[in-house]
Point group: C2
């Protein structure tokens, strides 16, 4: 069983912990692990060069989360983190001051930056870093080329626009400045990282986890060759809605959807990805319906009403609980995604 | 009053605190400072590139010490230092593991490395770093070119030799491996940093503080043009012995002297520098004699017996207490050095 996941940061990483847990039970290797292999295509559009260091927030969030080193409190960065380097950089007046660079995290960026400077591609660097963290998945950057997601916002004088780095918009401005769009700077000269297209094409199942569909999954799909690889994948492509009842489960995905003219709903995201049968990306889609306990609360969000409509549009849709409240709930989501995939192209999930 | 000091790390930095204190009293500016100006030519042979960072231990020791940020306990590095970055680098298996890179210190190296990568010369970077620390002296790297002191030691097979970085020999091996000599790698293509030769030539007094005469002062003198500038300085050149009673006051200078075939004594160091009147560097030299309190102890080291011999050799020598036990003692040493200078070329110390 080969599964490929296109993942952003926190949402994707958390989903992957559930997927790993499910696979250990569903495809046990008799040794506590799983015979199923997971390849993660990581978003590098969030990457930013700070103080001469190459910082890859999404790759690191996946690596730290699966490697047991994530800060559960902050969602990103390292556990038990300290901030002496950041405080000293501020004392020197080094810009920017809004990025929460931790001391432990700094070591990761030092190792990465040193290897990059020595000529290793980001994919090799990521593999080297993962040799320590043992995330239990193969983590591939979407590209070895340097790309950066920039956000188009209003300029300083009326009628003008300017672009700022995604991290500046996201962290410094907390996505509160209206965005007119997103640009993956460098994408024209970028190509998919080694093994990326193959991992998608040859997977038994491709999963779009509940990551940000615009600035995470969207940027992975923007890398030349990746969207085509998803379209041509031999296995089914199943997605999980990051929007529950008209709002993102976490983060500020609504600001990103609005920026590209989309409604903030599970159906709008599915239509944005599109049905594979109509030139899009999705064979299957999971939307949220409250679990039995939640369903008794009248205000519980429920997107189950989209099931028939989306299925009719060529995306076989199911409603399951999609709140990653704990590992059990997240594991059940991963199981539901694979269950749905099995109904789509049974021939594509042989063996184990 | 213009004073130029050729300084290494801890010994030079500590002497400079005394010099600064003395000048505030001897040449007060009425505002708590001094009208006298001190230029420090800093040793960069100790510099080492670690984890992609350009680390300048001696420059930083001077900057932190005079800026009030030094770790008094360790003598180098920052006060209240933490070591999360170092521990994490070790967890990644990043080499070397023997260098005590602190978190606060890391920020200094990040700012420096980023500026160097952007094309600023080390002198401009040092000036920028000092804008924060306000050391009260003008700190000039001996050269803007990258040079590194390497140590020649026995090779792995009999009869062979190899070179290792000075820091590896000094810190990792604690200078315990016999050295056959020291090489300033890169010196052939290096030139003195901007203002270095002028600061030496035009100073009212040039001071060689009790820094390591081989790997600190010796490396500064090895930069093309520096030795000539000292020889041609219009002011007197006065040195302070780093050796007291046949042993270095601190550090492992004895291993360095032995490596280049010198006796470990105040006289041998003076002869090594040589009399300016005979083509060498020194006009005056201070050797150690115990203070009144110490003199009552029979075992107190006393190098006063060298005074006549060295003076006869053209280096006017005086014996004063040379232990930098506290700021008062260090201030008295600086005063003694300037007193001696005033007897050598009174015309060179006009005004104030």
């Amino acid at each position: 069983m080969q599964i490929t996941v296109l993942a952003g940061g926190i949402g994707g990483a958390r989903f992957l912990t559930g997927l790993r847990q499910h696979l250990r039970a569903a495809y046990p290797d008799g040794n506590g692990g799983s015979t199923a292999e997971v390849t993660v295509i990581g978003n590098t559009g969030d990457d930013i060069r700070l103080y001469g260091l190459q910082v890859c927030p999404d790759l690191d969030t996946v690596m730290y989360t699966l490697g047991g080193g994530i800060s559960a409190e902050r969602g990103g960065g390292r556990e038990d983190e300290t901030f002496a380097v950041k405080q000293e950089l501020a004392a020197y007046g080094a810009e920017p001051t809004w990025f929460g660079l931790g001391d432990r995290d700094t070591a990761t960026h030092l190792v990465r930056s040193q290897m990059l400077a020595a000529g290793y591609p980001l994919s090799a660097v990521t593999e080297a870093l993962c040799a320590r963290w043992q995330p239990g998945v193969r983590l591939l950057p979407m590209t070895d080329d340097r790309v950066e997601t920039h956000v188009i916002i209003d300029g300083d004088s009326p009628g003008t626009r300017k672009a700022i780095h995604f991290q500046e918009w996201w962290i410094r401005h907390r996505a509160a400045i209206p965005a007119h769009g997103f640009v993956l700077v460098g994408v024209d000269d970028a190509k998919a990282g080694p093994g990326v297209a193959e991992a998608i094409r040859d997977a038994d199942v491709v999963i779009l986890p509940p990551s940000n569909p615009v600035v995470s999954v969207g940027m992975i799909l923007a890398v030349p060759g990746v969207r085509d690889a998803v379209r041509e994948a031999r296995g089914p492509v199943v997605g999980l809605s990051p929007i529950v009842g008209g709002a993102p489960v976490r983060g500020m995905a609504d600001a990103c959807l609005t920026a590209i003219g989309l409604e903030v709903s599970a159906a709008a995201v599915a239509r944005h990805y599109g049905a594979r049968s109509a030139g899009g990306l999705l064979d299957g889609w999971l939307v949220h319906t409250p679990a039995a306990a939640e369903a008794n609360e009248s205000a519980a969000a429920d997107d189950a009403h989209y099931v028939a409509e989306l299925t009719a549009a060529g995306i076989r849709t199911r409603a399951v609980p999609l709140l990653m409240t704990d590992l059990a709930a997240t594991t059940a989501m991963a199981a539901a995604a694979l269950d749905l995939a099995a109904t789509l192209r049974p021939a594509a999930t042989p063996g184990g």
